[in-house]
Amino acid sequence: MTHIAVVDYGMGNLRSVAKAFEYVAPHARVEVTRDPAVVASADRVVFPGQGAMPDCMRELEATGLREAVLQAAREKPFLGICIGLQMLFEWSEEGGVAGLGVLPGKVLRFPSQGMMDADGRKLKVPHMGWNQVYPVIDHPLWRGIATDARFYFVHSYYPEPGRPALVAGYSLYPFAFTCAVAQGNLFAVQFHPEKSQAAGLRLLANFVAWDGAYDGAGAFS
């Protein structure tokens, strides 16, 4: 029975994430936790996030979970979601704060100028709703998911990885931005798989089944 720790550092509601895992993995032990020891002992770790990144970083420090999260991100199947993805990078334009620096790169805000759709109408920020996700690598977490499946997004900032090899998928709004990254045992997404119906549940089920192995050589030829 796999033990999944959902890291709770006091930012936002993690019930949706936990419920979705309980649904796709009824035999797993899903634990929403503030205890670094639980994060350290779990088989796999989910790192969600809601709200503003400066608040999330501050709470992560205050709850003493930073080290446990850093360690988990290095050694076991690890899934970052939304701000949980953004916090893995070195720096965010949101509040100009440093992230955990697990991945090279930065997090930027959608520009206030030039955000137009094909009809010339202004695109709203936050980017909220169902957008198509295009995988660029052959990764176990993408298995069984269409190459243009729609996932639910709600965010105003997006990651710009420092190494192109980290990009696992992108989306268009209106330019191509990275919405999924992969490195070894780590996978992180900007969208909300727990709110993305069939495609999202499939990604979570893939994470539960994943052994954490990915050698980075899975680029589509």
Partner: protein
């Protein structure tokens, strides 16, 4: 290619049952909320909205177990509103499984509550619901509260801008003139608000035909369209609504 326009079935909930009235009166029973939510999810609804129209504060707690049950089975965004007045109300609904909470009357009474709630929980989960009524003979609209019973004198477009500034992540805009009439959205109102703000706007009030959904997006510039009765009584499925929108060149999620 890009972001899909959303279709959001709305469930008006009174004492634990889904109901639908005309212009906030004459309520009719439309069924079990969990069953209805599941049906809409299967049909491809992009999101679900629950509006708790229960009058008394004690009975209002009946919404919490319903949201818990829906959230355990339906994995699309859930917005819950109706009588949300305090940070604790917001927290209770989020803990029950709501992804967004909509604030209406309390935003007018205490605009700082919107700032407080979005500061605490993030603007992504704070929706401000605006009930607006056309000022007779003018191209402007006034904000109403208390389920459309009380005029405020506030201009709806200015109010929309102010709510965005205070941290609303989305607006749910209802035309009081059209709600329950099945005569279509107030397109001018929808467009005036949508063009005035940078955050997404959900158009609501008046959908009686699938062409109305198209109008809301194409002429009203809405990011999402909300409807209740056309879905509750089986006139149309969400799928049929999406097919109709797609035929008119609107991008939808399948």
């Amino acid at each position: 290619m890009g972001l899909a326009k959303r279709i959001i079935p709305c469930l008006d909930v009174d004492k634990g049952r889904v109901v639908k009235g005309v212009s906030f009166a004459n309520l009719r029973d439309a069924g079990d909320p969990v069953e209805i939510a599941r049906r809409y999810d299967e049909q491809g609804a992009d999101e679900l909205a629950f509006l708790d129209i229960t009058a008394s504060a004690e009975e209002r707690d009946t919404i919490v177990p319903i949201i818990e049950q829906v959230a355990a089975q339906v994995f699309i965004p859930l917005t819950v509103g109706g009588g949300v007045r305090t940070v604790q109300d917001v927290r209770n609904l989020l803990n029950a499984g709501a992804d967004k909470v909509s604030i209406n009357t309390a935003a007018v009474q205490h605009p700082d509550f919107v700032a407080e709630a979005s500061g605490r929980f993030g603007s992504q989960c704070i929706v401000v619901a605006i009930d607006a009524k056309r000022v007779a003979g003018a191209e402007r609209w006034e904000v109403y509260t208390h389920g459309g019973r009380r005029a405020t004198g506030i201009d709806a477009v200015e109010w929309a801008r102010r709510m965005q500034a205070l941290g609303a992540g989305e607006l749910l805009l209802t035309s009081m003139d059209r709600d329950g009439t099945k005569s279509g959205f107030d397109v001018e109102l929808t467009r005036a608000v949508c063009d005035a703000v940078d955050i997404p706007v959900i158009a609501s009030g008046g959908v009686g035909h699938l062409d109305h959904l198209v109008e809301g997006v194409v002429r009203g510039h809405a990011d999402a369209v909300l409807a209740a009765s056309i879905f509750h009584y089986g006139e149309y499925t969400v799928r049929q609504a999406k097919e109709h929108m797609a035929r008119h060149g609107i991008e939808v999620r399948w």
